[in-house]
């Protein structure tokens, strides 16, 4: 859809040109010159897909400095300071349901999870009606004003079709496929259950992860000194190289295991000439600064022996200018057989002209042409090499929403054919999991929307109220398919975001925020150093760990360990349980979130206030007397004692 963007600029006469950089919800970044209409504003019309896109600005063709508005430059690696363009409607209907994976998805081969929303308060019953006209009630898991959020776990046995009925004690309507309703059943209108997708329901595939930025994590004793290395523990600059290595990671694997993690995720390790290594020179070679292929083999083997999976980062969209095919192109120009691997605007291809497609306009990062089969084949073969030879367990696909679906689909399929339970997570800043997971066959995305709408807006910016926080959590859950929710990575910081502890306003809520990562459906990924509140600055969260001062005795370390151990012990509930809000007290900022699976449940009772409050336990778990308190304590047998900014975890059998 066409969207006009207007930037007001009366009075700053040093601005002659504005260029807008667009990050579409789907597709590649591009820039467009804005027109100065002479009345104090610049104007541009852009064609955008549905969803949340973003933009930033450049002034007077200076493409080295990005701005959020004409007076405000963007600092460092700040991914969040972009202006959103939301092309998305609020739906309002009696029932909001579509027969699509967002609303209905398998949690195992028998059970489907069905979600829907009703918008009229008179609706207090929603039922699934099967082919035999048996009725099954949906449960309300949360309600806010007129809106109710419903959920049903249904064992489909041999069922093929279903209908939905809604209403109240006086009247009931059939929900029809075109979002209409009817008092009378229409024989011809029913929904078909989705066919069981060829999913592999692998319990080991999720859990809790630990992200490592290899250059900054740990430098082993065997690392050869190199004059280009900056002193370990000094403050990193944009191009600093510290010399963290794979042997260093190996040294710390048992520690990571001890903290209770199930997998490690490494930022890129392939041969490159930068510290972040997203600009790959050779996709089939470990960066020699990090170590050798043997070191890497040893890392994966040791990790597997500790029951830790290893997930790598792959930058498929773009490469280094030293990448062999691009180098060949620069050298041989029109005669290069690799010319179609890239997108070339004109010959001679020149780094100075930047007359080739490059990522976000950075000439250092030429982008692949995914219509070229040779390039596709090369990238896929390179990825498979790491699975076949080293048995790695997954990929995080960098900037996946900028890569066309047809290639992602082929890439994912090829990987899963070689290793069926390989995890493939797409980096996505736009909250769009549906294409990547439901169409392309990926497992999940990086949940930036959860970061933005929940963690950033409540804990950092403090721009949403407590009740809005709860609403945002529910909305997050209801906008993704169950599979995408379960597998998507949730996080409080990463290599592209400032350290959470640095940004957090109320420092007492650090643990509370982490507990939310566990109870909200998803795969929590901790960023190295979070267990010791590693420092950073707003533009840089890639500081080194000082291992001499590292402690495993702090209450924080023990808290993370405890949280992970609960997560591991009850992983079925965390992986497959549905979500309920059994208790919410908006005045005292108390929230209980329960996950339930196979008549077992885990409930987190969270106190977001600065006061100690006690809550009657029956409000939270009902009548089960055999509950267990996994974390926290009771004041007496009827009441939970909730310390300020703290949490109690209860396990019960109902």
């Amino acid at each position: 859809m066409l969207k006009e963007i207007i930037i007001f600029n009366e009075g700053r006469d040093d601005i002659n040109n504005l260029t807008i950089g667009i990050f579409p919800a789907k597709g590649r970044y591009y820039r467009k010159e804005m027109s100065n209409n002479g009345h104090g504003f610049f104007h541009v019309e852009v064609d955008l897909p549905l969803g949340i896109s973003y933009y930033h600005l450049y002034i007077n063709h200076d493409f080295t400095k990005e701005y959020v508005d004409i007076n405000t430059p963007i600092l460092g690696q700040d991914l969040i300071s972009r202006i959103p363009i939301i092309i998305k409607s609020e739906i309002f209907n009696h029932i909001y349901f579509e027969n699509s994976p967002q609303f209905i998805s398998y949690i195992n081969k028998d059970i489907v999870d069905i979600k829907l929303v009703s918008y009229h308060s008179w609706i207090n019953k929603v039922k699934l009606v099967n082919e035999n006209l048996d009725e099954f009630d949906f449960q309300v898991i949360y309600s806010n004003k007129n809106r109710k959020y419903w959920n049903l776990r249904y064992n489909i046995k041999d069922d093929k079709n279903f209908r939905i009925k809604f209403g109240n004690d006086e009247k009931e309507y059939w929900f029809l496929e075109n979002n209409k309703a009817s008092l009378h059943i229409k024989e011809s209108t029913f929904f078909k259950f989705p066919k069981l997708p060829q999913l592999h329901f692998n319990d080991n595939a999720v859990g809790v992860g630990y992200q490592i930025f290899p250059d900054r994590f740990c430098k082993s004793d065997q690392q050869k000194e190199n004059e280009i290395f900056q002193t370990w523990d000094s403050k990193p600059g944009t191009y600093s190289l510290f010399g963290g290595d794979i042997k260093g990671i190996i040294d710390k694997l048992t520690l990571i295991k001890d903290l209770g993690f199930n997998f490690i995720y490494l930022n890129p390790v392939f041969y490159s000439d930068s510290a972040h290594r997203y600009d790959t020179i050779d996709y089939t070679k470990i960066d020699p600064i990090l170590g050798t292929e043997e070191d890497f083999k040893q890392l994966v083997d040791l990790a597997h022996s500790l029951n830790l999976r290893v997930i790598l980062d792959i930058s498929l969209n773009h490469c280094n200018r030293e990448f062999f095919a691009f180098k060949d192109l620069i050298k041989l120009q029109e005669k290069s057989k690799y010319q179609d691997w890239f997108i070339i605007n004109s010959f001679p291809v020149s780094i100075d002209e930047t007359n080739y497609s490059c990522w976000h306009g950075y000439k250092e990062l030429p982008e692949f042409n995914f219509n070229n089969l040779e390039a596709q084949k090369y990238l896929i073969e390179s990825a498979l090499y790491w699975i076949k030879k080293f048995d790695i367990d997954g990929w995080r696909v960098d900037v996946s929403n900028e890569i066309p679906d047809h290639f992602l689909e082929t890439f994912i399929k090829a990987n899963k054919e070689v290793k069926k339970d390989i995890q493939i997570i797409g980096e996505n800043l736009h909250n769009e999991s549906n294409d990547f997971v439901c169409k392309d066959g990926g497992d999940g995305i990086t949940a930036y929307s959860l970061y933005q709408d929940v963690f950033n807006s409540y804990f950092i910016e403090e721009i949403v109220s407590f009740s809005q926080l709860v609403h945002n959590i529910i909305e997050y859950i209801y906008s993704h398919s169950f599979k995408a929710l379960k597998n998507s990575w949730t996080f409080l910081s990463n290599h592209d975001l400032p350290r959470f502890y640095l940004m957090l306003q109320n420092k007492k809520q650090y643990k509370l925020a982490f507990s939310l990562l566990h109870i909200i459906p998803g795969t929590p990924v901790y960023y190295y150093g979070e267990e010791i509140k590693l420092s950073g600055d707003i533009g840089n969260s890639r500081y080194t760990i000082n291992w001499d001062e590292y402690t495993t005795k702090s209450s924080l370390f023990l808290y993370f360990k405890k949280m992970n151990s609960i997560h591991n012990q009850y992983h079925e509930i965390f992986d497959y349980g549905n979500v309920e809000i059994p208790y919410i007290d908006k005045n005292n900022k108390i929230l209980a979130i329960r996950r339930r699976y196979n008549n077992k449940s885990i409930c987190f009772v969270l106190n977001f206030s600065d006061q100690e409050i006690s809550v009657n336990i029956n409000n939270i778990i009902g009548t089960d007397k055999n509950y267990k308190i996994l974390l926290g304590e009771l004041t007496d047998e009827n009441n939970i004692e909730l310390c300020s900014n703290n949490i109690v975890i209860i396990q019960s059998n109902n």
Binding site: E4, I87, S89, E90, I91, N146, E461
Partner: protein, 512 residues
């Protein structure tokens, strides 16, 4: 002379029953003043639990079908002065109360759409049913802003009214603010009823974008707005609004009808809130209010006569120029701080009063609090708007700032002139029509212009005004005199509406 014809106003809010901005004031005053010549009916939303001055009403109801379900609509009816009011609510009483950002009352960015456009379509359909049931002799429907344009999504119903009532009437959209327009995106299409779907799809095919305002512009017989200059800016496409193409391609010329001020309330002689009334002859009474406000703000008043009080009073949004007073993206407010340092060097006091955009959780409020703490001696900020305070602050202020990015009409400058507080405005939209700049028309001046939208220009204008205030009291008195004798009353401005209606060439009742 009164004609036996009815004007129907459809509005999202009507003062004093429910009001959050100038729209509510106009939707209230316009029908009252039009009653001189026509019968007037106002149809608005009933906001469960949020209505004021609501008594002696009678209740009625009717059913309409939407997406296959019969819904019962309740309406609250009463007559006040000469105007009849209907407030509509759905069977589900909280639907409207939860719509349009009302759920977020302290976050006053009221005209933005926080809820589904479907709610506004349902409302429009119900309005049509109500007109069918209750209105005779319909001459003109005025839809106030995009929230009220749902009726245009049901042209077949509009036609029915015309044939059933056996009369021809006209429809119009009165644009109070083109900035907000009820955008429609493709993902809502599967949830629309057939008739709205077809119309919005057609609009979308034509423009690759759609909005309820765009639909109204296409369907309405007349497109109106609230000042001549804003109409001119819209016609020439020189206002920073998106989707001007709906207007520019429609070959409808937008007509500017200047809003009036309601001097029955907004006048220092008749204000229900001022204890010490005054007029152009006794404007020195302002000092009484100034002293009160200095006390309230904790400002030292030892040199009060030589310390101008500057008031910036509005919804604190980007449209109104809040970005000149804070750094929108910088938490530390570095640039804004140096602006305040320069400003306070002029020996002035500044008061910022109004509901902050997105409420007290958002950055505007937080930035202002931070700045207030830094400049306690000279700067006071209060986020909780009410009319009593507004009157008292207007009476107290020497200077009122309106540095709007754009301004369809603007009411605060009209009020401030009446109260003898001199407006410093950006010459855009209705501000240009209503304020005469001292540096352009010295002897007739009623205020000052801010030439560019930036802090330097704002500061420059303030400096010039303060210089006159301090060193040329005779000139300042002349400006006050000019301002207070300006007359933008509805009694006068309503004539524009009557002229417009006369020019409509209405086809009167046609007997077959």
């Amino acid at each position: 002379m009164k004609e036996d014809k009815t004007i129907v106003h459809i509005a999202y809010e009507v003062a004093p029953f429910f009001k959050r901005g100038g729209l509510g004031d106009v939707a209230s005053a316009l029908p009252e003043y039009m009653s001189e010549r026509y019968d007037n009916v106002v149809i608005s939303f009933y906001y469960q639990g949020l209505m004021n001055h609501f008594e002696n009403y009678s209740l009625g109801d009717f059913n309409i079908e939407m997406n296959g379900i019969e819904y019962n609509y309740k309406y609250y009816y009463f007559k006040r002065n000469q105007v009849e009011y209907y407030f509509l609510n759905m069977e589900d009483e909280n639907v409207f109360a939860g719509s349009g950002g009302i759920s977020n009352l302290n976050g006053d960015n009221p005209y933005k759409n926080y809820s589904s456009i479907i709610i506004f379509l349902y409302f429009g359909k119900a309005v049509l049913k109500l007109i069918q049931l209750k209105i005779t002799n319909l001459k003109l429907i005025i839809c106030h802003d995009w929230h009220a344009t749902g009726i245009f999504a049901y042209p077949s119903e509009l036609k029915n009214i015309s044939s059933e009532l056996n009369l021809k009437f006209h429809t119009s959209i009165l644009i109070h603010n083109f900035y907000h327009q009820g955008n429609v995106y493709e993902d809502i299409f599967p949830y629309l009823e057939d008739e709205p779907l077809q119309l919005l799809k057609d609009l979308y095919l034509k423009y690759k974008s759609a909005s309820l305002l765009g639909l109204a512009i296409e369907q309405a017989d007349y497109v109106l707005t609230v000042s001549d200059n804003y109409a001119r800016e819209l016609n020439e496409g020189i206002v920073p609004h998106e989707n001007l193409k709906f207007l520019l391609n429609s070959n409808k010329k937008i007509i500017g009808l200047q809003n009036g001020a309601d001097y029955s309330i907004w006048h220092p002689e008749r204000s229900p809130y001022l204890s010490k009334k005054y007029n152009v002859g006794t404007y020195k009474n302002k000092k009484f209010y100034k002293k009160e406000v200095f006390k309230e703000c904790g400002f030292k008043d030892d040199n009060i006569d030589n310390t101008p009080l500057i008031l910036y009073m509005c919804r604190l949004t980007e449209q109104k120029g809040i970005s000149l007073f804070i750094d929108m993206f910088n938490k530390n407010q570095d640039d804004a701080i140096s602006f305040y340092e320069d400003l306070f060097k002029q020996g002035v006091k500044l008061m910022i009063y109004g509901n902050p955009s997105n409420g007290i959780n958002d950055k505007i409020h937080k930035a202002l609090i931070l700045l207030q703490n830094k400049f306690k001696d000279s700067f006071y900020y209060s986020p909780y708007y009410n009319e009593e305070n507004a009157h008292n602050y207007l009476a107290a202020a020497d200077i009122v700032l309106l540095p709007s990015v754009f301004e369809p009409c603007g009411l605060v400058q009209l009020y401030s002139m009446a109260f003898g507080s001199i407006p410093i405005v950006r010459p855009v939209g209705g501000l240009k029509d209503t304020v005469r700049c001292f540096f352009e028309e010295e002897n007739n001046a009623t205020g000052f212009y801010i030439q560019d939208f930036n802090r330097n220009a704002l500061l420059e204008s303030i400096k010039k005004a303060v210089e006159l205030y301090k060193n040329h009291p005779e000139i300042w008195e002349m400006i006050i005199n000019n301002a207070m004798t300006e007359n933008f009353s509805w009694e006068i401005k309503i004539q524009n509406y009557f002229n417009f209606i006369d020019s409509m060439k209405i086809l009167e009742t046609t007997e077959a």
